[in-house]
């Protein structure tokens, strides 16, 4: 290798480092949610998602033997008032900080922990993090002593996704709830019909599809006719009407929601899919017409003249020429509108509260104290799969639509 070439390669290293770090930086937040959606509730609460591949704390006899066994006994049954083989007792302390709090309290006027070294460690407020790490295996051992059902499952699991799909929000999992075939709390039927639970994400997924597909097709249909008129027909007000359309493109959604909601309640269209289709159609039209008109107007004039000489009228020119040629533009628009409607929250909350879509259902799951990250991450990812796939598969068209709207026009 020549020195010049080597120098060039070395000189480019900073560039690669910057670009790759950017890419990683952009990926990590999403990756965290993806990984978390496959971890059990307890695992999510006790360790960060980046620990997923590290070794989980092993149930250890050693810590238990030095700190606890002298009073509680090796099998945990020595003290009748604190039977550590009883899942009900141990169940109170599944989280290590709860366990620590318990150990810091006095028992009958004496420190809870007898072992001198452990006693000092437990009471030292400045070493909390260290002691929590040491207590993790003790907790695991207690869980094992009490029958194992409380042991933290550090393996990957699909149960969050199942729970999210059927709308299970309890403290175990849907699979455990339905282990016997009959729902313990009576909230579920434990068959496929649970997928239609109004609180579940699978129902919301269905609602999102029902909202989005027609809302993506209808505006294109109406826009194609109007765009043809703007491009190849002559009428009064053609120019200023189109200029007005350019302005209408950025009317904030917020301007129109309340009057439409009121109109719908008078017409009995509250929470109807038909109503929300029409709304999204109305709102998608200015951009759709604008983009299609620019595309159609850019087609060669000769094409239209020759088809006319062949005896065609506007109707045939529209269906035989304009529509087939604008397939790329239609694809761009379809993807644009699909992503826009699928990701919408505001319109869905106001016009379709009775049939919650994915975005709405996710906001219902948010817990400020972070108690259900396992469910929330699975639900969020469920809502992201479709737009991500659509985006990755049709990125070319999406970018083209973006450029046509924002730059050329």
């Amino acid at each position: 290798m020549s020195p010049g070439r080597l120098k060039r390669i070395l000189g480019r290293i900073p560039l690669h480092v910057i670009v790759i770090s950017l890419v990683v930086l952009w990926l990590v937040p999403t990756l965290g949610v993806f990984v978390t959606s496959f971890r059990s509730r307890q695992a999510v609460r006790t360790s960060g998602w980046w620990m997923v591949l590290s070794k989980p704390p092993v149930p250890s006899q050693q810590e238990y033997a030095t700190a606890c066994a002298s009073c509680h006994g090796a099998d945990g049954k020595a003290l009748a008032t604190a039977d550590l083989s009883d899942p009900e007792v141990v169940g109170e302390y599944t989280r290590t900080n709860r366990l620590l709090q318990m150990l810091r309290q006095e028992v009958d006027g004496q420190p809870h922990v007898q072992d001198a070294e452990w006693q000092a460690l437990v009471q030292d407020q400045s070493r909390t993090k260290e002691v929590l790490d040491k207590l993790a295996p003790v907790g695991q051992h207690l869980a094992a002593l009490s029958g194992g059902s409380l042991a933290v499952d550090y393996g990957l699991t699909a149960s969050n996704w199942i729970d999210a799909l059927v709308g299970y929000k309890g403290t175990t999992t849907y699979q455990q709830e339905c282990a016997t075939g009959v729902s313990e709390s009576g909230k579920f039927k434990c068959d496929a019909s649970d997928l239609l639970n109004p609180e579940g994400m699978s129902r919301a997924f269905l609602n999102s599809l029902l909202v989005t597909v027609p809302s993506a097709i209808l505006p294109i249909l109406f826009a194609a006719f109007a765009a043809y008129a703007f491009a190849w027909l002559d009428f009064r007000g053609r120019t200023w009407m189109f200029a007005l359309l350019v302005g209408l493109q950025i009317v904030p959604l917020q301007m129109t929601l309340v009057p439409i909601a009121q109109l719908y309640s008078r017409l009995g269209l509250e929470s109807s899919f038909f109503g929300i289709w029409l709304f999204h159609t109305g709102f998608g039209l200015p951009y759709a017409i604008y983009l299609l008109r620019n595309f159609l107007g850019g087609l060669p004039r000769d094409l239209f003249e020759s088809i006319y000489l062949d005896g065609a009228n506007h109707w045939t020119a529209f269906w035989r020429l304009a529509i087939p040629l604008s397939v790329p533009a239609i694809a761009s628009l379809g993807i644009f509108q699909f992503l826009w409607v699928w990701n919408d929250l505001l319109v869905a909350i106001i016009l379709l509260p009775g049939n919650p879509v994915l975005t709405y259902q996710i906001t219902n799951l948010i817990d400020p104290r972070g108690g259900n990250w396992h469910l929330l991450t699975a639900a969020a990812f469920l809502s992201m799969i479709v737009p991500m796939l659509v985006f990755l598969a049709f990125q070319r068209y999406f970018v083209r639509g973006l450029l046509a709207g924002a730059v050329k026009g």
Binding site: G32, D234, L244, G247, V251, G282, L345
Partner: protein, 305 residues
């Protein structure tokens, strides 16, 4: 300009236009007008807004709801925040987009890198909100920090930070702007990258031959050439920010000094329609300059056509 490619009946254009025009009249024009009239009425829309005036206190008569929208402390906070989003977050995002466009242009894995940075555009603001709430999460109990940012800080021996509920409102806002940048930098990058690629290479080569440094080539030649695109991207971003709602609603719900106009409007939508509509009215007034700008730009381009 006038197409006249073939004979047409007097009614033909209107047949093609009617459905679209009717729907737009019903769903954009009518509600916008109605919103303005409702903004002049009371909570329930039953009486003129004047009835909300309290004797002995300032009153703007029928514009009483606008007095609220322009003088209430929480509204002022929202207006301040939207202004800060536009003044600080928009240039940051457009700048980041431009930087990414320039950088990715020089590596062989350009497509992959751009796809990944652009990907957040595909997901909902709600999904992005969940993703970033998790990044910013603060464990206030004694358990481990499971939010990546606070875990790093704790790992380095620092005190975990309340990124979204900080007593310093600027921290909360900056946290939101980072989310906004993560979402929109890819959008800016994609459009600016297309503009950069359209710059003729001969001009660039010529100036390099003349001894211009890469820095000079960028600022003296490329940047002026893509300036129109930078303007378009910036105005589009300003519109996005004026309307920004979902991110704030999901991440902070406007608490701790992060209120924005659209979230205020949403909060009143049921409890005080008059106010809600006045805030929406304010929003449209703020977008009008950009509408005019867009229409002008469109007309200029039509003349070039």
């Amino acid at each position: 300009m006038v197409p006249k490619i073939m004979k047409q009946g007097a009614l033909t254009p209107w047949l093609y236009l009617s459905a679209a025009l009717l729907i737009m009249l019903l769903f954009i024009v009518y509600p916008t007008i109605r919103t303005v009239t409702l903004s002049l009425r009371d909570k329930a829309g039953a009486q003129p807004a004047t009835v909300d005036c309290v004797a002995g206190e300032p009153c703007w008569g029928v514009l009483e709801n606008y007095r609220y929208a322009l003088t209430n402390p929480e509204m002022l906070q929202a207006l301040r925040n939207n202004a800060l989003w536009i003044l600080l977050m928009v240039p940051g995002t457009v700048g980041a987009g431009l930087l990414f466009a320039v950088l990715t242009d020089r590596v062989r894995y350009e497509r992959l890198a751009k796809t990944i940075i652009f990907l957040p555009m595909a997901i909902s603001f709600v999904g992005a909100g969940v993703i970033w709430r998790f990044v910013y999460f603060l464990e206030t109990g004694e358990g481990a920090q499971i939010g990546v940012l606070n875990a790093i800080i704790a790992g380095l021996g620092g005190q975990p930070v309340a990124w979204l509920t900080n007593s310093n409102w600027m921290v909360n806002n900056v946290s939101l702007w980072i989310v906004g940048t993560w979402l929109w930098a890819g959008f800016c990058m994609t459009i600016l990258s297309a503009a950069l690629k359209a710059v003729p290479t001969e001009i660039l080569e010529a100036s390099r031959v003349d001894g211009a440094s890469e820095w000079q080539v960028f600022w003296r030649i490329m940047f002026p050439l893509i300036l129109p695109t930078v303007t378009v991207v910036t105005t589009t971003m300003i519109i996005n920010i004026l309307k920004v709602f979902d991110i704030v609603f999901v991440m902070t719900n406007g608490l701790n000094g992060t209120e924005v106009i659209a979230n205020r409007m949403f909060k009143f939508i049921v409890t005080n329609q008059g106010r809600s509509m006045a805030i929406a009215g304010l929003l449209i007034v703020l977008t009008i300059p950009i509408m005019i700008f867009n229409v002008r730009r469109f007309r200029e381009q039509e003349e070039i056509r």
